[in-house]
Assembly symmetry: C2
Homo-oligomer: 142 residues x 2
DNA sequence: TAGTATTTGATACTAGTTACTATTAAGGAG
DNA sequence: CTCCTTAATAGTAACTAGTATCAAATACTA
């Protein structure tokens, strides 16, 4: 009996709260949990979030000039961050398309990033396993 | 006399140390400075690094699962991080090239990221001003 | 129900920020 | 060149964010 994930109430609460929020910081998750369950410690929260990340139940995301955030969208995708209002948007890599110079050509971010990963392998002999792409700027609302 | 940047010895020391290191963390910068100048406080170090970032003298970079780092390469470029040895490599966006399906086509990361930024504008009405692209994986040495 | 390894919560630590007082660089007047 | 003024900067201390350690509690299995 080694390394089995146990089902604890704390773990279930943390997961549920995370699922109810959009790109929350740990502090936001903590605020919600404290109201109902003040006995749950921050160690437990951080620890469980990391564990869920390892299990691929959630993603931990790193945006410039921000604290760590969690994302319950586990499909591969990238992020936009509005530097004016702070909102974080998901970019779905396979839905976005852009014609290149040749009007019959279209490219998704997904295929583009695959091309880049191959180029990196060729040029730097570096095997890419994870891509963190963040675009900062101003959103349509601002 | 408002908002003039003053030339302080602390500022010069911090800048010189930063220039001598590759992608240093603040802790690495601090370690070097403390040996010669133990009186310089961490607030001063953090404050000056941020100020130099505002002046575009250095870049602050954010890598997944890492503390903040500074980069004295101020030309636009992206990063590779080896998850095995921890080494950080710069990708020069204009030097890397990769043929697309059409063998007469080549694309730099720079042009690709410009295409993506335009697509983001069209699709999400979001004006990209900064791109933070980090590729994690295993380097040739590991 | 008992045994045991995992998980929790507490505590103390490292990393980074903020607020505030004391110091100092730069510019002007004599 | 020296003194004065003043706003920017330095250092201190106290705070938020995140990590590590470890005894106590608890989930799982037999």
């Amino acid at each position: 009996m080694i390394n089995i994930q146990r089902k604890t109430i704390q773990r279930q609460i943390i997961f549920d709260v995370l699922r109810s929020l959009e790109h929350p910081t740990v502090s936001q998750i903590n605020d919600v949990i404290q109201k109902e369950h003040p006995a749950i410690s921050k160690s437990t929260i951080y620890r469980n979030l990391r564990q869920m990340e390892d299990e691929k139940l959630v993603c931990r995301i790193w945006l410039p000039n921000d604290t760590e955030r969690y994302d319950n969208n586990t499909t591969p995708h990238y992020h936009l961050k509005c530097t004016s209002c702070g909102t974080i948007y998901d970019i779905e890599p396979d839905t976005i398309e852009q014609k290149t110079k040749n009007p019959t050509n279209t490219a998704t971010i997904s295929t583009i990033s695959t091309i880049v990963a191959k180029a990196i392998k060729k040029r730097y002999n570096f095997a890419v396993t994870k891509k963190d792409l963040v675009f900062s700027g101003t959103c349509g609302e601002c």
